[in-house]
Amino acid sequence: MKGMMKGLGVTLKTLGAKKVTHAYPDVPIEMPDRFRGIQHVDREKCIVCNQCARICPTDCITLTGKPNPDPEKKGKVLDTFDINFEICILCDLCTEVCPTEAIVMTNNFELASYSRDDLFKDLDWLNDNTKNIRQDNNNIGAPQRGGGKAE
C-alpha cells in the first residue's frame, strides 16, 4: 500500500506543476542556431564543385553547371540544383564539405505536404529559402579546412 500511496502522491503533486506542453502551431518553435533544417542554396556563391552531391549519402542532390555568362570570368555557375526531400536525411554533410558555404542549413523544418512532388525542391526555391539561415556552418569537411581542426 505504501508504494501505491507514494505514487498517488507524485501524480497529485504533478497536478499543479508547470506544464511542458508547447502550443506548437500557434507558437512557432525556435530552433537553436545549429539546427539542421531545409537547405538554402546561394547560386552566386556556388562554384559547381559537386562536393555536396558526392558526399550525399542518399544521393538526393543533383546539380548541373554552365559556363560563366560573363566571358571575363573563369569557372562555372550553377544552372540547376535540386534536392529531393523525399530521401534527404538532413545529415548536414553537404554543408560540411561546401568550400564556399553556398549550401547552408536553415532553421526551417516544416516540409509536410500533400504531394510527394512538392518535396522536390529546385534551385529557385532553395535560393529563396532565406529565412533563419544558420550562422555558423562549421564546414570542417571543406577542402580549405583540410578536415583538420574544427574552429
Binding site: 559547381v48 564543385c49 559537386n50 562536393q51 543533383t62 553547371g65 569557372g75 562555372k76 583540410g146 578536415g147
Partner: protein, 292 residues
C-alpha cells in the same frame, strides 16, 4: 593498436613538405604490401590489377588543379554506377595540393606501417625484429597447440595476431574441424570461452569466411576464429548447439550471404522475405531494381 601507426599519424601532420606527385604514385604500393597474409593469391592479384589503374586516373585531374571544381560540375552528378576508382579519382581532384600532400604522406606512412603488421601475422612465426613480442603471443600459441592436440593435427590452418585489433589472436580453423574446435573453445578450462561475442560472414569473392569472436569472461580474453568455405556451395558447420548466440546470427548470415550451416535447428531466412531470390550481401548480388 600498434604504436608505429599512432606515431605515424602524428608525424604525418608535421611533414607537409612531401611532393604531391610522389604521393600520387604511392597509391599503388599502398594497397599491395598491406595485403594481409590471410588472403589467398587470387584475391591479392585481383586487387593489384585494380590498383595501378587508380593512380593513372587520379593523376590526370590532379594535373589540372587550376580549376578542380569544373571537373565535376559539367558532368551529370555522380551516380553509384561509377567505379570505385573513378570516385576516388574525383575526390582527389578536388583536393588542393597542400592537402593532397598531407594526406598522401599520411597514407603512405600508414601503408608502410601496415606492411610489417601484415607480415608479422605469418603462421605464428616470430614478428618483425623491431617490434617487441605481443603479450597475446603466448595465448595464441597455446590455443593453436590445444587445437592441434585435442582436435586434430590439421585443425588450424593459420594463426596470427591482428595488429589492427589490439593483437587479437586470430585463428583460421579448418572447416570440418570447427564443431569439435568450438566445443573445445567453450569447454576447455584454459580457453573457457562461454560467451560468443559476434558472428560475421564475409564474402571475399574467391571464398567465404565466417568470423567468430568467442570470449572468456573471467579472464577477459577474446579470440577471433575464422572458418573458410568455398563460394560455390558455402557451408560451415553450425555452432548453435555450442553457443545459442549463434542461432540467429547464423540465420542472418545464411540470409544475407547464403552460407549454409548444417546442424542448425531452423535454417531459414530471417531478414529478407522467405521468397527472396539471392543473398544481398554477396559481392556478385545484382539488385532487381538498381534505382531502389
Amino acid at each position: 593498436m600498434s604504436e608505429e601507426i599512432k606515431k605515424d599519424g602524428e608525424t604525418a601532420g608535421t611533414e607537409p613538405t612531401a611532393q604531391p606527385e610522389d604521393n600520387r604514385s604511392e597509391a599503388a604500393p599502398e594497397t599491395a604490401p598491406s595485403e594481409p597474409q590471410t588472403e589467398p593469391a587470387p584475391a591479392a592479384s585481383a586487387e593489384e590489377a585494380a590498383a595501378p589503374s587508380e593512380p593513372a586516373q587520379a593523376a590526370e585531374p590532379a594535373a589540372s588543379t587550376a580549376e578542380p571544381a569544373a571537373e565535376g560540375g559539367e558532368a551529370a552528378p555522380p551516380r553509384r554506377k561509377e567505379t570505385e576508382e573513378e570516385k576516388a579519382a574525383r575526390r582527389k581532384a578536388a583536393l588542393e595540393a597542400r592537402e593532397a600532400a598531407k594526406a598522401g604522406a599520411a597514407q603512405a606512412k600508414a601503408a608502410e606501417a601496415a606492411a610489417p603488421a601484415a607480415s608479422s601475422g605469418d603462421g605464428g612465426e616470430p614478428a618483425a625484429p623491431p617490434k617487441p613480442p605481443s603479450p597475446n603471443q603466448p595465448r595464441l600459441d597455446r590455443a593453436v597447440q590445444l587445437l592441434k592436440e585435442l582436435v586434430a593435427e590439421d585443425a588450424v590452418e593459420e594463426a596470427s595476431l591482428n595488429e589492427l585489433n589490439d593483437d587479437l589472436p586470430t585463428l583460421v580453423v579448418k572447416n570440418e574441424r570447427w564443431p569439435a574446435a568450438a566445443v573445445l573453445f567453450r569447454d576447455h578450462e584454459e580457453l573457457g570461452c562461454r560467451y560468443l561475442r559476434n558472428v560475421s560472414g564475409v564474402d571475399y569473392e574467391t571464398y567465404m569466411e565466417v568470423v567468430y569472436y568467442p570470449l572468456n569472461m573471467e579472464r577477459r580474453e577474446t579470440y577471433c576464429v575464422k572458418v573458410r568455405t568455398d563460394r560455390e556451395n558455402p557451408s560451415v558447420p553450425s555452432v548453435t548447439p555450442v553457443w545459442e548466440t549463434a542461432n540467429w546470427n547464423e540465420r542472418e548470415i545464411y540470409d544475407l550471404l547464403g552460407i549454409d550451416f548444417p546442424g542448425h535447428p531452423n535454417m531459414t531466412r530471417i531478414m529478407m522475405p522467405d521468397d527472396w531470390v539471392g543473398h544481398p550481401l554477396r559481392k556478385d548480388y545484382v539488385p532487381l531494381d538498381p534505382e531502389v
